[in-house]
């Protein structure tokens, strides 16, 4: 009984290490191929459209309601201490330092990351990746690199949009609905916000873009057999990249603070 349990734990541990090793090799290979032509600029632009432009609606919607609920909750909490004037800085700091990068990453994972995995997975089971290989075309360069570059460029831009829309949502609820003075709202925001906060949020969003593209393309590239394999890969890509974003957020925050 004990031997069997130890065997199972050992097997799972080895599988996990093997999986992490494969992921690390996959990322290293992808990054190593970045400096070399062909640069796939057209494909990067196409992927920016897919990951970035097509995610705009969901990002704007999520950002607006996040900012609004932050203002609502923040207002009633701050009012207990007579500090309603700090609402602007509370909303802005929460969004720029934390919620903007994290929620953008989670929304992009759900909308675009899952689609990336499914698309690449279908290419794998339809032998399109083997077909590229047989033509002497590096599939990593052709499939993975444009998506990785596009995610690293798109997620920070989407995060910036999330932050701005979120602050506007907070402004609508805080100033227009709850009656906080507009000058105080923006004045406190300006006073408390530093460039370091913006830079940290930006850095996080770049890392999250990398995580999403890395995990989702990896899961698609090494998908299992058939439709079930693609479905499992898609689910595990969304779960793993969401968890890695949240875990990564903690460690980045602790380093950057």
């Amino acid at each position: 009984m004990m031997v069997s349990l130890a065997e199972t734990i050992g097997k799972r541990t080895l599988q996990a290490i093997d999986h992490m090793g494969k992921m690390a090799i996959f990322l290293t290979g992808t990054i190593a191929s970045l400096p070399f032509p062909p640069y796939q600029l057209r494909r990067i632009v196409k992927q920016i459209h897919f990951i970035g432009v097509k995610s705009l609606f969901v990002i704007v919607l999520t950002a607006a309601f996040t900012g609004m609920v932050l203002a609502l909750q923040g207002y009633y909490t701050l009012r207990k201490f007579g500090s309603e004037g700090l609402l602007g800085s509370a909303v802005a700091l929460s969004l720029i330092r934390e919620l903007g990068p994290v929620l953008t990453a989670l929304m992009v994972t759900g909308r675009a990351g899952s689609a990336l995995t499914a698309e690449i997975g279908i290419m794998r089971i339809g032998e399109q990746i083997d077909s590229l290989e047989s033509m002497g075309i590096d599939p990593i360069k052709f499939i993975v690199v444009p998506r990785l570059c596009a995610a690293i460029l798109s997620v920070p831009l989407l995060t910036a949009i999330f932050d701005v829309v979120g602050i506007l949502g907070g402004y609508l609820v805080g100033v227009k609905l709850l009656g906080v003075n507009a000058g105080v709202f923006f004045g406190q925001m300006k006073a408390s916000l530093e460039w370091k906060d913006v830079a940290n949020g930006f850095l996080k969003s770049v890392v999250f873009g990398l995580i999403i593209a890395w995990v989702c393309t990896f899961k698609g590239y090494f998908t299992g057999r058939g439709a079930e394999g693609v479905s499992q890969s898609t689910t595990s890509a969304v779960v793993l990249s969401s968890v890695m974003v949240l875990v990564g957020d903690y460690f980045l925050t602790s380093v950057l603070l």
């Binding site: 339809g126 083997d130 033509m135 002497g136 075309i137």
Partner: protein
């Protein structure tokens, strides 16, 4: 078809003389295990230059795995894959990509890119791997599409095509770079007899026009014997018969005879 006859019976074109010299592909003691199962178990095989070689065998015999080794899509655990004497299983990725320029491959389901039109699919290897100008690419693509009878379908997407049309587009794409060797993974599986024969006829015609070395996995037994110079029979990861078609057809091996006749009774009991 036979090496001695000068007129190909099925397509009526003159057969190319058998070239002298070493085989273009040589598999030596090839072994491969996938998911714990030994798929190739010491395969030794020579693929002659400028001939059509058919590989036959039961499903799961290792035919596709063997074909993928020939182009370096899979690497063996043991043994060698020699392409004109160079062991491609030991090459770096870059060197392997260079060797693959000599190959074209038609995959079982066609493996066309869904987001590209028929024209773009066929043009793809030329755009990605050559420095040809747009005009020359267009000329070559249209010529290949005309060869497979699909010039009119050039603006269509793969999901608008029938199974036979998909295979023809894939064939046009496989030969657009003028490779020396074309590998076919079940080019006619799932097609009706008329389309199947028209694709085999197309392959045969193309062979006579260009003199490619062709290796073709097929389940079309006995029809495939008409269209190939040589036949290889694979069973349980081993080559059990290989040689000129006429000799393999006359084989005394009971499994080969069971496979050719499609008998339920014989050395292999599936149920």
């Amino acid at each position: 078809m036979s090496d001695r006859s000068w007129i190909c019976e099925p397509c009526g074109l003159e057969t190319l003389p058998a070239p002298e010299g070493k085989p273009v592909i040589r598999l030596v003691g090839l072994e491969k295990t996938l998911d714990g199962k030994k798929v190739l178990d010491g395969v030794n095989l020579d693929i002659p230059r400028q001939r059509i070689t058919a590989i036959i065998g039961l499903s799961g015999a290792g035919k596709s795995v063997m074909l993928k080794h020939m182009i370096g899509l899979l690497r063996p655990e043991r043994g060698q894959v020699l392409v004109d004497g160079v062991d491609i299983s030991r090459l770096s990725r870059k060197e392997l990509y260079h060797v693959r320029r000599r190959f074209g491959m038609l995959f079982q389901g066609g493996a066309l890119f869904d987001s590209l039109t028929v024209y773009e699919n066929v043009a793809f290897p030329l755009q990605e791997k050559t420095n040809l100008g747009e005009g020359e690419i267009r000329e070559r693509v249209l010529s290949r599409l005309a060869q497979v009878g699909l010039e009119e379908a050039r603006g269509k997407y793969p999901d608008e095509l029938s199974g036979g049309m998909v295979r023809r587009v894939a064939f046009a794409r496989a030969m657009v770079t003028d490779p020396e060797i074309i590998l076919f993974d079940e080019p006619t599986t799932g097609l009706d007899p008329i389309i199947r024969n028209s694709i085999l006829n197309l392959i045969c015609h193309t062979y006579h026009q260009h003199g490619f070395t062709m290796v073709m996995i097929s389940h079309d037994i006995p029809e495939i014997f008409q269209w190939s110079h040589n036949v290889v029979v694979l069973h349980d990861g081993k080559v059990i018969e290989a040689g000129p078609t006429a000799e393999v057809v006359q084989s005394v091996n009971p499994f080969v005879q069971q496979l050719i006749r499609g008998d339920i009774a014989g050395p292999v009991h599936l149920m």
